[in-house]
Subunit: 190 residues, 2 copies
DNA sequence: GCTTGCTATGCAACGAGTTGCATAGCAGGA
DNA sequence: TCCTGCTATGCAACTCGTTGCATAGCAAGC
């Protein structure tokens, strides 16, 4: 599993509390790795016990105290070791694909609204990604001439991952159009 | 969760034993829903207790007996109810994306081989899909003129799901090319 | 003769992920 | 004034998914 590694990456990009991590997992990191606050708190505690992260209590006014976590040397080493681990299959879970095949044994037209809803969700996410890309990755994109300084690696890699998200959403929208066209073809017969 | 629903769909397409289901989950259904034989046996037992499936003991010569499962009325109803359930978010888990962002805090060039390996895996799967499409969905594809008979719904829906898999693999291959180009850009600096 | 590999089913244990609930103070709106 | 919602952390119970192991007979190759 890689939740701890996702947390390490996120904390290396910027230290923060469990709560802040949970919010990041709803946004940037969460686009390709979901986690609830429960999982995060539990894993953070384990990582603290293992010496992967350091904690600092930060009192706040008008709000509960928070614990700011940052990556310790052991955590960095653990991440590095995981990064060099070659293994990694790919497991996919597409409820919608199951539903589409299942629609053959039910009324297929009942699925149209569902598919349209999903398509809209993907359109929304695409718009969100594109806005983020325009915001974060266009201003300094002019200096791409010549080899990059190592300092830009973090940004470049974040950008290429975001491009992956954009490509994924575009593919999904196109495919769902295809699905709708297919459903419409034999829908009226029933 | 939807493993039971994936099993129902698979059994409706063709009744079979737990072992056969496990093999299907390595092929057609498994392209968008993975499951090991352990999960399948466990869930099948529960579904049997709930009256979702019927079992028939089939003695075989030279091989252990098998239990052939088929969908019962209750199972059909459960599937139908699930199909009409509108909810369904989307959770994604992309280890590779985490690794790519994590590479900013390690040697990025170490990731190149890993990414190349993944790209090859996606190429292989794409080739496999395309072969399956050519085999199963070209011969009778000529009769697409006019409205389809309901009998063709199953095939049509299987085909559109397969097209989704093909689109996904193509997108991944393109994206991994992009990732490799990005890694190569600042790789030599280190 | 031995090992490997396939069909076929299953248990036990663990780890990961989900859901419901609890606490607790503050801010803002109906 | 009450209700909703946000920050912030956490427990307990449950389900889901993974891994290792076990049985057992047959077939094929070395």
């Amino acid at each position: 599993m890689a939740l701890e590694h996702a947390i390490l990456v996120s904390l290396l990009e910027k230290p923060g509390s469990g709560y802040e991590l949970a919010r990041r997992f709803e946004r940037s990191i969460g686009y390709f790795w979901t986690a609830t606050h429960q999982q995060i708190y539990r894993v953070l505690k384990r990582m603290e016990n293992d010496g992967w992260v350091d904690v600092r209590d930060i009192p706040q006014q008008g709000r509960p105290d928070k614990k700011e976590y940052s990556v310790a040397d052991l955590g960095r080493a653990a991440l590095s070791s995981w990064l060099h681990d070659p293994i990694e299959p790919e497991s996919v879970r597409h409820d919608l694909a199951v539903k589409i095949r299942g629609a053959a044994f039910d009324d297929p037209t009942a699925l149209i609204r569902e598919v349209e809803r999903h398509r809209q969700a993907h359109r929304d996410r695409l718009a969100h990604y594109l806005a983020g890309e325009a915001r974060d990755f266009t201003a300094t994109e002019a200096n791409t001439a010549g080899p990059q300084a190592p300092l830009d690696a973090e940004r470049e890699l974040q950008h290429v991952v975001l491009r992956g998200g954009i490509a994924y959403e575009r593919m999904m929208i196109d495919w769902l159009d295809d699905v709708l066209a297919t459903l419409a073809r034999f829908g009226p017969c029933r």
